[in-house]
């Protein structure tokens, strides 16, 4: 990881949209707090005041004034809201990076498009973006409805099968921002996270270049045995490793698996031990996910892990 | 306890009639509630039809012909014609004319049997099945929903007719005949928009 991880929060904005929205939040909080105190103040006065006659007429005047004040306050908040909505929507699209995100039960497919098909990059559960540049996210889903949400950057956008919609985000400082699925999508909705890795333009370009390369070739016998195991087993039915025969489209692309920070959509740190456990029986870790258990000998698993570790 | 109100004035309702026709009766309001609920239902299904239309490039989908006009249009004519015996039954009920109520209810029933039979033929000429695509699904739902109404309305009317022939006939039953006629009108009139949607929408806005 190149940058520090920050906690997901609406109140710690790291991009222009989240900043606009957090300002609206603080405005709303102050206004509603004042209203709350005033209304309860009047209620308390009504409960505790010494009883003396109040004319219906003066009550009516007070109620009308209060309703009037309500209308004015709400109108003010409406204007603030519409203004914020426009500001959020107006992020310039010039020189934007376009990234497609496709939701799956229970992981994120991330694609960097390119006119030259050989330069297209597909990865999973990790979204690299350059700092200070608008990024267009085109989102859709291959199965049920999911929702992309990186609270430090922007609000949610649903990933809906049959619809492709676009939102703009921009990260202003390098860090890893956690995003999480925000639309209930089935058994493992809880473990469907994604890291937004915001890095400098140079780091981003370097990363993208590395991702464009096909998978690393085995350099020794153990790695070669690992690759054989991968190709022989059911792994290939679901996963792709560019430059090999593995071209499955059901599960995440593994071409550069070892370059990613987390496993299983933000659930586990990407270590050899976790990866081994995940391959043997992912249902123990994330029950209900769509990857079946894989029974294999310890030797076979070790060489498979050795191979996967070179997919940097 | 009975003399608790001794000295109080009273409002004597003993001379009031033991019932009333039209919007006087409770049942009229109950029927109105039912009509409101079912109108909402029909409106939502029709709304869904047009919503789905916006989500499809071809309507009906390619290689599917719109429903044949023959049976649906015939049914439109038959249903509208059933308004005549229905109105006559309603009028006869208002006059407490048992003989004519029986007559026109039976005629209504014959009409009902006729348009339910024609409805069966309509289903065979929709040119699509419900499991073909969303277009087929919504057309079948719309026609199916209306069919539930004409079927239950005929069964209701059948029971009421039987009652007017064999049951203890009382004045209140004539109010019931009137309410039944109101509901019959509702069921028949809802066919107008539904007929338009099922048979003409795919021709006009395809």
């Amino acid at each position: 990881m190149t940058a520090s991880t920050v906690l997901q929060s609406i109140l710690d904005p790291a991009g222009p949209q989240a900043a606009y929205i957090s300002r609206l939040w603080w405005l709303m909080l102050w206004v509603t707090t004042i209203v709350f105190v005033l209304v309860l103040g009047f209620l308390a006065a009504a409960l505790l005041r010494r009883r003396r006659a109040t004319s219906e007429q003066s009550l009516a005047r007070a109620v009308v004034a209060a309703v009037g004040a309500t209308v004015v306050i709400l109108f003010g908040l409406l204007i603030a809201s519409v203004w914020t909505g426009r500001a959020v929507a107006s992020l310039g699209a010039t020189s934007a990076v376009t990234i497609e995100i496709v939701g799956h039960q229970f992981w994120w497919e991330v694609q960097f498009d390119d006119a030259d098909p050989s330069r297209r990059v597909t990865t999973a559960n990790e979204l690299h973006v350059p700092v200070g540049r608008p990024v267009v996210l085109k989102v859709t889903s291959r199965d049920v409805i999911h929702s992309f949400w990186a609270p430090n950057l922007h609000g949610k956008r649903d990933l809906i099968p049959g619809y492709t919609t676009a939102i703009w985000i921009q990260a202003d400082r390098p860090a890893v921002y956690r995003a999480q699925c925000a639309e209930f999508c089935g058994k493992q909705h809880a473990h469907m996270a994604l890291d937004v890795v915001a890095e400098t333009e140079a780091q981003f370009e370097r990363w993208l270049d590395a991702q464009r390369k096909p998978a690393a070739e085995p350099a020794n016998e153990s790695e070669a045995r690992g690759r054989d195991a991968f190709m022989r087993r059911q792994c290939v039915l679901c996963h792709s490793i560019r430059g090999t025969l593995a071209r499955g489209l059901v599960g995440p692309d593994l071409t550069h698996l070892a370059s990613r920070g987390k496993l299983a959509a933000g659930t586990l740190p990407n270590t050899r031990g976790h990866l081994g456990g995940w391959i043997m029986n992912s249902q123990e870790i994330k029950p209900g996910n769509l990857m079946p258990p894989n029974l294999m000998t310890s030797d076979e698993l070790q060489s498979l892990l050795t191979y996967l570790e070179i997919l940097k | 306890m009975t003399d608790r109100h001794a000295g109080a004035r009273v409002l004597d309702v003993s001379t009031l009639a033991p019932g009333g026709f039209g919007y006087r009766s409770l049942m009229w309001w109950g029927t109105l509630g039912l009509v409101l609920i079912e109108s909402t239902m029909f409106a939502l299904v029709i709304g869904t039809y047009f919503y789905l239309r916006t989500r499809n490039s071809y309507w009906p989908p390619q290689n599917i012909a719109p429903p044949d006009l023959r049976w649906g249009t015939l049914n439109l004519v038959v249903m509208l014609a059933s308004g005549v015996p229905n109105e006559l039954a309603k009028k006869a009920a208002g006059r407490i004319d048992l003989r004519r109520v029986r007559l026109w209810l039976v005629v209504c029933l014959l009409f009902g049997v006729a348009f339910n039979t024609i409805r069966a033929l309509e289903f065979t000429t929709l040119n699509v099945t419900f499991s073909n695509d969303a277009y087929g699904s919504i057309v079948w739902l719309l026609l199916g929903l209306h069919t539930t109404h004409i079927a239950t309305d005929v069964v209701d009317t059948g029971v009421l007719t039987a009652l007017m022939f064999i049951g203890p006939v009382e004045e209140q039953r004539f109010v019931d005949v009137e309410e039944n006629a109101v509901y019959w009108y509702f069921v028949v009139l809802t066919w107008l928009p539904i007929y338009g949607v099922i048979y003409w929408a795919p021709r006009i806005i395809s």
Binding site: Q8, S9, I10, S81 | G20, R55
Partner: protein, 651 residues
């Protein structure tokens, strides 16, 4: 006609009247009752049991979420629990219990002998009970709904959820909505046509107005969810494609239909709650409601605006900018009528002579809690803010502040308020205060931190979370608060059980209230009122002069009921109501067989229609000659008036 004359020595044979309106004895009597009071109590008691069941589910969820990576519940069970909790609380608790109060109190508050269409109301109860048992039994045998109370397609379609769980959810909807629609029609007809003479529409109690407005909302909103759930069952059972993107269907269609119902549903729950608040504010301020007309218009306005807001729940789907502004405006606007009601209540208390009894204190809890929920509602109405907090714990907090604030606090207030009327005994004041204190404190400890959790990014409907998210401590705090809430409810239950048998005997009108349910004994007689009252003001007990007439001339040997005009409540005619009947129960059983069968095979519909036809015919077929109380054949002259004739002046 309608002459006011000197009182005859004996107005009515009271013993005969009581026999006429009594249920049959024993279990058979219980199963055949058409008494709105028995049915109302059943609704309230059944819904309360479901409330406790839903509470246990909530407790299990809070235990699971108390710490990160907790292994107490797995995702399969947790998803069933949260889906069943939501469905249960909305469809089996909140709506039925408020309608149950309407069934019991609307006839009493308008001064009627019975509720309109009593057999339909009995049928609705059996259907509701069957739907509730169906959901809970399914849950207990591991077929509980697991796709949320909202059952979004396509997750709820067979391709993604092959089990019967979504079918259970969808058919539970059909049960409860048919029941709810039946009650709505009965309540509207009762309020419009059976009010005591003199109770013109502008004197109708606000609680009754709230029930009427709610009933109309039910009639327009429930068809949407019934249509959606029917389409879902069809997709799952016979391969239609309403929500199937591959075959021309649409995933958002579900959301439009569901929220066209789902947003008004919030007001269907909250409007009766405000009706209760208006009732209690009036009684415990010991003065007429300030701004009666404004409050009634606010209820109506809320209902109208409530139907324009469904897209409010779909902001994150990506809408055009103009649509966003419109729905933001509409969502914010609904705060105006609610605000107007708040100010009228405060004005009433300001100028009243307050009496700090338990019901009033529970109602003050409503003020604090609901105000917070309403203000956070203004926040989520703003699209930019909503797309941040939508589907997070912020919204979990918001909706519980609105629904528990808007309905549960007023409901507990109503329990304390009306318990003496229903049972003839008083609940304990000190225990009531203790229960309130525990529940109020517990509620805020549970739900207030959830606002903060949402702002810190905790999404809804997750069965667990990672330690590094930092959500652990506030979740633990929220779980701790459940203990207080639980004790609050237990204190109430213990007190209610005690008071039911051994509480202090209640007077007819222990709170010195002004509405008609207090003008009869506690508990009310079978016939509700020995003599039907007439009315000279909005709060008849306060406003009626001492010589206000009572109604005489209704038969005591038959269930004779007075029907009045819609606007001015002038007496119009009398009508004979049905005796106890086994047919509502049998019809409900036939309906249940059809509904449950039809999630397994479409053939259940034609086969199930046969017993349904038999039972409904049994229902409508006359039991004996003369049961309608009108002339028997042969009839010489019409005696029932047509709409344009004078009452009782038929040829």
């Amino acid at each position: 006609m309608n002459s006011e004359r000197e009182l005859p020595p004996v107005l009515v044979d009271e013993a005969q009247l009581e026999r006429t309106w009594a249920d049959e004895p024993g279990l058979a009597g219980w199963l055949t009752s058409v008494d709105h009071k028995s049915i109302g109590i059943r609704y309230i008691a059944t819904a309360f049991v479901f409330f406790l069941g839903g509470g246990v589910l909530a407790l299990l969820m809070r235990i699971q979420l108390a710490r990160p990576d907790n292994a107490f519940l797995g995702p399969d069970l947790y998803n069933q629990i949260f889906s069943t909790h939501g469905s249960n609380m909305m469809f089996l608790f909140a709506v039925p219990i408020l309608q149950g109060l309407g069934i019991y109190f609307v006839p009493l508050m308008v001064g009627a002998r019975a509720i309109a269409f009593p057999r339909l109301v009995a049928y609705s109860y059996w259907l509701y009970l069957a739907g509730g048992i169906f959901l809970w039994v399914s849950f207990l045998v591991n077929v509980g709904p697991d796709v949320g109370w909202f059952a979004y397609a396509p997750l709820s379609e067979t391709l993604y959820t092959a089990s019967k769980r979504p079918d259970v959810w969808a058919q539970m909807i059909t049960f409860t909505e048919v029941a709810s629609l039946a009650v709505a029609v009965s309540i509207v007809t009762t309020a419009f046509k059976m009010r005591a003479p003199g109770m013109s529409l502008n004197r109708m109690p606000i609680f009754v107005w709230a029930q009427v407005v709610t009933s109309f909302m039910v009639m327009f909103a429930m068809p949407a969810v019934m249509m959606a759930s029917t389409a879902l069952i069809l997709d799952r059972l016979v391969n239609t494609h309403f929500f199937d993107v591959e075959r021309g269907g649409d995933a958002l269609l579900w959301q439009h239909l569901f929220w066209f119902f789902g947003h008004p549903e919030v007001y269907i729950i909250f409007i009766p709650g405000t009706g209760l608040v208006s009732t209690l504010v009036t009684t415990f301020s010991r003065r007429p409601m300030f701004g009666y007309l404004a409050v009634v218009l606010s209820l109506v306005a809320t209902a109208f605006i409530g139907f324009g807001l469904w897209v409010h729940h779909m902001f994150a789907t990506g809408l055009p900018q103009l649509g966003e502004s419109f729905f933001t405006a509409a969502s914010i606007m609904i705060a105006i009528p609610t605000g107007a009601q708040f100010f009228c209540w405060i004005a009433t208390m300001w100028s009243g002579r307050l009496s700090f009894k338990t019901p009033f204190v529970w109602m003050l809890g409503f003020f604090v809690v609901f105000l917070i929920g309403g203000l956070s509602g203004v926040m989520v109405a703003a699209v930019p803010l909503d797309i941040q907090v939508h589907d997070t714990y912020f919204v979990v907090a918001h909706l519980h502040y609105v629904l528990i604030g808007g309905a549960v606090f007023p409901l507990f207030a109503a329990f304390y308020y009306w318990f003496p009327k229903i049972t003839g005994r008083m609940l304990s004041e000190p225990l009531g205060m203790a229960s309130f204190g525990l529940f109020f404190a517990g509620f805020n400890v549970v739900f207030f931190p959830m606002h903060v959790l949402g702002l810190h990014g905790m999404p809804r409907r997750i069965y667990t979370y990672l330690p590094e998210t930092g959500w652990g401590s506030l979740n633990l705090l929220a779980t701790a608060g459940v203990v207080l809430m639980t004790f609050g409810v237990l204190v109430f239950i213990a007190d209610a059980l005690r008071a039911w048998r051994a509480g202090v005997i209640a007077a007819d009108n222990p709170w010195e209230a002004g509405t008609l349910e207090w003008a009869t004994s506690s508990p009310p007689p079978n016939s509700n009122f020995v003599h039907l009252p007439t009315v000279a003001g909005r709060d008849p007990i306060w406003d009626n002069p001492p010589d206000q007439p009572v109604v005489v001339g209704l038969r005591s040997d038959k269930r004779d009921v007075l029907v009045t005009h819609v606007l001015d409540a002038e007496p119009d005619h009398r009508t004979i109501f049905p005796e106890p009947s086994q047919w509502p129960l049998l019809t409900a059983l036939a309906t249940t067989a059809l509904f449950i069968g039809s999630i397994f095979t479409p053939r259940a519909v034609p086969y199930g229609a046969v017993p349904l036809f038999v039972t409904m015919t049994g229902w409508f077929w006359p039991k004996e000659a003369g049961e309608t109380g009108t002339q028997q054949w042969p009839i010489e002259h019409r005696t029932l008036p047509r709409p344009n004739e004078e009452p009782g002046k038929a040829a």
